[in-house]
Structures are given as structure tokens and as C-alpha cells.
Amino acid sequence: MAFNIVKEKYRNKISQVTIGATKEEGGTRTSTVTIGGEEALPYLHFEGNIPNRPVTALEVWDIAPPGWNECFNQYYGDVYNDVGEWARKCVEEYGAEMICLRLKGADPDEDNRSADECEAALKKVLDSVGVPIIVLGCGKFEKDNEIFMKVAESGAGENLLMGVAEQENYKTLTAAALGYKHAIIAQSPIDINIAKQLNIMIGEMNFDTDRIVMDPTIAAVGYGIEYGYSIMQRARFGALGGDKAMAKPMIGNIGWEVWKTKEANAPVSDFPEWGEQEPRGINWEIVTATSLLCAGLNIAVLRHPSSLAVVKKTIDDLMKPNSY
């Protein structure tokens, strides 16, 4: 029969962002990652170039994380109190391609750590591993604004990915990232208009918008992931169609979202029909991450070493060529 392959033509491509800097580039990383640059919808290689594979990160905290499920003790329990060693384990034993350092200790409701302490935590991570680093504040605007400048400064030259800039609080972080040449995460609350607006506002501060990674805010499977999923699909399709303000790579805090849920944490005794707790939590991360990869996710920040291993393999498979 006369069947013609349907190939879409796109007018635009996603911007390409490199994170991390080697010695030659003024940093101390032994590797860098480059994400974005897609010229087609996710993994439709036959349709356009998809030059860079999505990357995986594991999340580490500057304090022993209160409330993490006990199943993590066997992996991280011995390093919870040493963020450098924690990061090293994530990279050397578990194969993380990036480390996502969450400065939760700065949270006034946690340890209320100072900017100096945050700087020390970042230094430890930078000294322990060679992969590129994502640094997130504690999530409290006022406190984050106290620490961002110091953190940016101490990571100068390393080409960090810093977050998060939000509509109500983007100026300090943008200025810090601009001053010390870091990339930035622009986070919007499951709202595509705010996502676009925020990218534009950050650009208005003379920040190069090709250095933005968008976080459209995802949720876990079963908790409204479909909203974030559809926003990512719309953003990506719109971007390929010519909307430059949306043509940014995307990041998702999958571990953070998934391990908040009852389904990842509840012991099997509470819900026998849901199966064993740890594999259930891992699968919850895997399904959440994989579905979002299919919507265009570029950085998957995970928590469980097994989720990371599986998601990496899926990415290997998705990056194999397809053609007609």
C-alpha cells in the first residue's frame, strides 16, 4: 500500500545548556553535561536531531534528612551526616551523572544554617565528586536570598545549575547566577503562562535565557502528574513550533515528589494489595520519571539508587536511533 511516513517540520529547536566546567574551562569538574538541543518531539529521532541524552541526578542534603523513608538507610545511612561522602557514594557506587545538593539545612524550620555553612556544604560536594552540580535553596524565599549570593560566589567558575527562581522570588538568584556565570532553574507552579512569563522576566535582567532550565513543577504519578505532563508537552510542542521563550530544557524533582506520597512510603502491612514498600517506592519513581521523559524531561532528579539505574537504562534505549 502507499503509506507515507508522517514527518513534522519544526521551525525551532530547544536551547542547549551545558552544566559544569572542567579545569580548562575554569572549574574543577572532571565531566560536564549538555542537555537540550532537540529538534523533534521526544525520541522521534526519525524526525529531527536529538543531540543530547537526558541525564540523571541523585539528591543529597546538607543535613541528615529528617523523615526520609527507612529504606534509604541501607544506602545512605552511613553518609547522611557527611554530604561530601554522600555525594561520592551517589556518583561512584550508584552512577549518578549529576548531584543535586538541596540546602535544606538552611531552612529556619530545620537547622537554620548560615550562608557560610551552606558554602561549606557545597565545597565538600565539589571536592568529593567530579560531576556537575545542581544546587537548590531551602525553599524559604527570605532565607534563600540570604544564601544564594554566597553559594554562587563559592561555586564561581564551576558553572552550577542553581535553583530555584520563582515568579515571586527570582531577582536575587538571577543576579547571583548572572554575577558568577551559573545556569538557573526557573520554576513555575504548574502554570504554562507563568513559566513563559518567568523566562521572559529573567531575560529582562540581562540573564542569557539560553542558560535557563525550566521546572514546570511536576507531581508524582497518582498526584496530578498529568498536569505537569501536559504542560511539558505543550511547552515542548510550542517551542518546536517557534515559541522561543519556551524552548528550554526541563528538570523534574522526581524523588522529592514521589517520596512524599503515601504510596511510596506506606508499609505493606497497611496496604497488602499494593505490594512490598521498597520496590513499590522505586517503581513509583520509575513510572513518574519515565512518563515525564516521554513528555520531554531533560534532567531527572531521583532519590533511590535502583530507580536511577533503571531510568538510565531506559534513557539508553530511548536514545537509540529510529528511522524509516
Binding site: F3, L44, H45, K260, E273, T288, S291, V310, N322
Partner: protein, 442 residues
């Protein structure tokens, strides 16, 4: 998408004889385009025109039904590339493989157990796929017979051996199983079987082009209840093939106007789960997989539910007073916003606490707690007023209300304005069960 009046007019005899009860062929064409009359009112329309008109009126992807009774499942009848453009309609059928060399009885027992309750809904895994792994027709038949007796859910019969399939259908045909599969080598006989038994038929080619040719042959042989397996067993190519089938179908390439399916290849259950997620996210309407581990299937069926929900449904829930469980005047009262994600998470956790409770959903225009608070839509005075409006005082015999931990700062104002005692709850909803046990547990 049907034809326009003008397109229909071109296919009519243009004699204006009036036998269709309309004065002219043009009037008839217009009426037909608007669905106000039916094609058989015109006795003179040619067979060829009839076929063109009928195929233009058919949905772009045929609806195919598998199974009988309570567990009948329909797939196909989809209209979109992206769920956000309208919605996806018919949830992917998940079929779990059982080999005829396995202990079929035990496997089916386990399969029947694959139903889960979450968020007050029951999820089931839809189908058992019996595989003729032995290559023996009698063995296949007896495995299928066991499955027929053991489960009422849908069946997929997997054998390329026409004789084995014929034998299996002797015991399974009235359950309307999906016959898997017609291939280049066996399609003539498989089509005969499927037609004779009135069962849906999977068509598996070797790659997309070959599959297209095979589908055309099968259709020409007279069967149209089809499910298409493009045959690639490599994740990236399968994703591309499934996308092509959906795109082509929506462009009215009739060859691909059927639901599509995929078969996983990964042996490790977690990798397989990820693989199935890829296919489900990329239009597969039926997935055959091996794992029957609950820990893998619960998130997968949850993703299916999410993917197939209607995106037009509002992002806000109706503000008001909600009851979770068998409430009484002693039940605790929680307050949250009417952002649906927040509300449902809180509701799920309150339900998980197993302590019947009230939840007040405050009208915050569907935005979350912290955003609403920053926006002055979730302040002490607004909540105080709402407690009064709801007449909560008459519902409970205590004056205590739990607020989200993230907005502890509103406690003072809320207490002053309402006269209720404010209890600061956990910051994350996931802390509610523990909190509730400690505060309200007996």
C-alpha cells in the same frame, strides 16, 4: 470528521427526484452533513459513493472490544495526538503473560488478585495473555481452558499456530478473546478463524511498512476487528512506530485506523515497568507484559488513570465542607484550599489516617496553600468567616481546627477572629496520618 455538504453532493446522482423527502440532492446533502437524515433515504446512491460516505463518517480509529461481561474492555476510538487537545478516551489494556508451560492455575489465581484500591477507586489489571510457549496445541488448549475457568477478565491468546489457536478457541471463543496474531505466514487461516468465531484479531508485521501491507491483506480477507502490533521489539523504534500509527490514523490512513499494541521485552520487572510506561505514554492501547508484581503494577495503573483523565476537568474542587468516613460531632476538622491537587492529597491522607474527619475546602480560586496565603486568599479572617458561613459550630461539638503547617503564622488571627482553637498540622500532607494518630487516635 465527516464530509461537508458540498463533498457529499458530489457523490449524489444530482437528479433532484425528491424521493428522499427533500426537494433536491443539494438539500439532501446538506441535511446529511448535519446528521438530519440518513443515507438510506436515497435509493439511487451508488455503492461506491456509499462506501466513501460511510468510511468518512467512521471514527479515525476503530473501536475494538475484547472480552465479555463485567470485564469487557473497549480500546481504540481515539481522536488526539496530545491529551491536552481534548482527551484520551479508552484506557490501555494491560495483559499479563502466562505461559502454557507455567503453572497456569497458580498464575491465574495470582492474577485475579491484581486489583488495587487507591483514592477510593478500584483498579484492575485487565487481561491474561496465555502464551503457547510449549508449541503443543493440546497443551495450549488446556492452559486456555484453565484460564477461562479461573478468571472472568479478558483473554489474549498468543500462538501463531493456527491449529493450536483453533483448539483454544473451542473453549474460549465465547469469551471474545483477542487472537494474537495474524502474521505473513498464517494470516489467511487466522482471519478465517477470527471471522468464524467473531473474535478481535491482532495483526503483527515485521516493522511498520510490512505491517501496513499485512493489515491491508487482512482487511481484504474480510476482518476489521483488528489490533495492530508493528512488530518492532526495540523500545525506541516501537515508540516511533506507535506514534506513526496514531498520526496516520488521525490523517485518515485507513490501514492504520485500528488500536495499536506493544509487547515488552525486558526481563527485569522494574525495567519492564519503565518500558511499559514508555509504550503507554505513546499510544499503545494494549500492552502485553510479564511482571505480575503488585509493586510494579500499582504505579503503572495509576499512570494510566492520570493519562486518560479529562484535562478539561477543573483544577479546582467545589469549596465547602467535605466528610471523610463516618463522621460524628467529635470528628476533627482540617482546613485546606480548593486547588484540586492539594485537596485530593489532603483527602487521601486524611482517609489514610483512618479517623473520620471533616475537611473544609476554602475557595482560593483553585490555588495551593502557600500561593493562596501569599495572595491573601487563605488568611485568618477569610477562614474564620468561612467557618461561620458553613455553620460548622452546629456540626461538631468541639471548637478545634487543624491548619496546614506551612501557614502557622495565621493561627493568631484565625483564633481571634473565629474563637476556635487552632492546631497547627504537619507541613506536608503526608504527615497527616501520623499527626492524626497522635492527636486524635484513641
Amino acid at each position: 470528521m465527516g464530509l461537508t455538504g458540498l463533498q457529499i453532493f458530489k457523490l449524489l446522482p444530482k437528479t433532484n427526484c425528491g424521493e428522499c423527502d427533500l426537494p433536491t440532492c443539494m438539500a439532501f446533502a446538506m441535511a446529511l452533513a448535519q446528521g438530519k437524515t440518513s443515507l438510506d433515504m436515497c435509493p439511487y446512491v451508488s455503492d461506491e459513493a456509499k462506501e466513501q460516505l460511510e468510511s468518512a463518517a467512521a471514527p479515525p480509529i476503530k473501536k475494538v472490544t475484547v472480552g465479555t461481561g463485567e470485564f469487557t474492555r473497549a480500546i481504540g476510538d481515539e481522536t488526539e495526538i496530545f491529551r491536552h487537545d481534548k482527551r484520551f478516551f479508552n484506557e490501555t489494556i494491560l495483559a499479563i503473560e502466562v505461559k502454557d508451560t507455567d503453572d497456569v492455575d497458580a498464575k491465574c489465581e495470582n492474577f485475579n488478585d491484581l486489583k488495587f484500591e487507591r483514592i477510593g477507586m478500584e483498579f484492575v489489571v485487565d487481561a491474561v495473555a496465555v502464551v503457547n510457549d510449549s508449541g503443543d496445541a493440546d497443551k495450549f488448549k488446556s492452559a486456555v481452558e484453565t484460564a477461562v475457568n479461573k478468571t472472568e477478565r479478558c483473554l489474549v491468546l498468543m500462538s501463531e499456530d493456527v491449529d493450536a489457536m483453533a483448539k483454544a478457541l473451542e473453549v474460549a471463543a465465547d469469551r471474545k478473546p483477542l487472537i494474537y496474531a495474524a502474521t505473513n505466514d498464517n494470516y489467511e487461516k487466522m482471519v478465517e478463524l477470527a471471522k468464524e468465531k467473531g473474535c478481535p484479531l491482532a495483526v503483527r508485521g515485521n516493522g511498520l511498512m510490512d505491517t501496513a501491507e499485512l493489515v491491508d491483506k487482512v482487511v481484504a480477507a474480510g476482518h476489521k476487528d483488528l489490533v495492530i502490533d508493528p512488530g518492532s521489539r526495540e523500545m525506541s523504534q516501537t515508540l516511533a512506530d506507535l506514534s506513526q500509527i496514531r498520526r496516520a490514523a488521525l490523517r485518515r490512513v485507513r490501514t492504520f485506523g485500528y488500536p495499536s499494541m506493544a509487547v515488552t521485552t525486558k526481563e527485569d520487572p522494574m525495567e519492564e515497568n519503565s518500558e511499559a510506561t514508555v509504550y503507554m505514554s505513546n499510544y499503545a492501547q494494549l500492552i502485553v507484559m510479564k511482571t505480575d508484581e503488585k509493586a510494579a503494577l500499582v504505579p503503572l495503573v495509576s499512570w494510566r488513570l492520570n493519562l486518560y483523565t479529562d484535562p478539561q476537568k477543573p483544577i479546582a474542587v467545589e469549596p465547602g465542607l467535605y466528610e471523610v468516613g463516618e463522621v460524628n460531632p467529635d470528628s476533627p476538622v482540617y482546613v485546606t484550599t480548593n486547588f484540586s491537587l492539594t485537596y485530593f492529597i489532603v483527602e487521601g491522607e486524611v482517609e489514610g489516617s483512618k479517623i473520620p474527619s471533616y475537611i473544609i475546602s476554602v475557595d482560593t480560586d483553585g490555588i495551593s496553600v502557600l500561593t493562596a496565603w501569599a495572595d491573601n486568599k487563605f488568611s485568618g479572617d477569610i477562614i474564620a468567616k468561612y467557618i461561620k458561613d458553613l455553620g460548622l459550630e452546629e456540626k461538631v461539638n468541639h471548637k478545634k481546627i487543624v491548619i496546614p503547617g506551612g501557614v502557622a503564622v495565621i493561627s493568631g488571627k484565625l483564633e481571634d477572629e473565629s474563637g476556635w482553637e487552632v492546631i497547627v498540622g504537619p507541613r506536608e500532607a503526608s504527615g497527616i496520618p501520623k499527626f492524626a494518630r497522635e492527636k486524635f487516635g484513641k
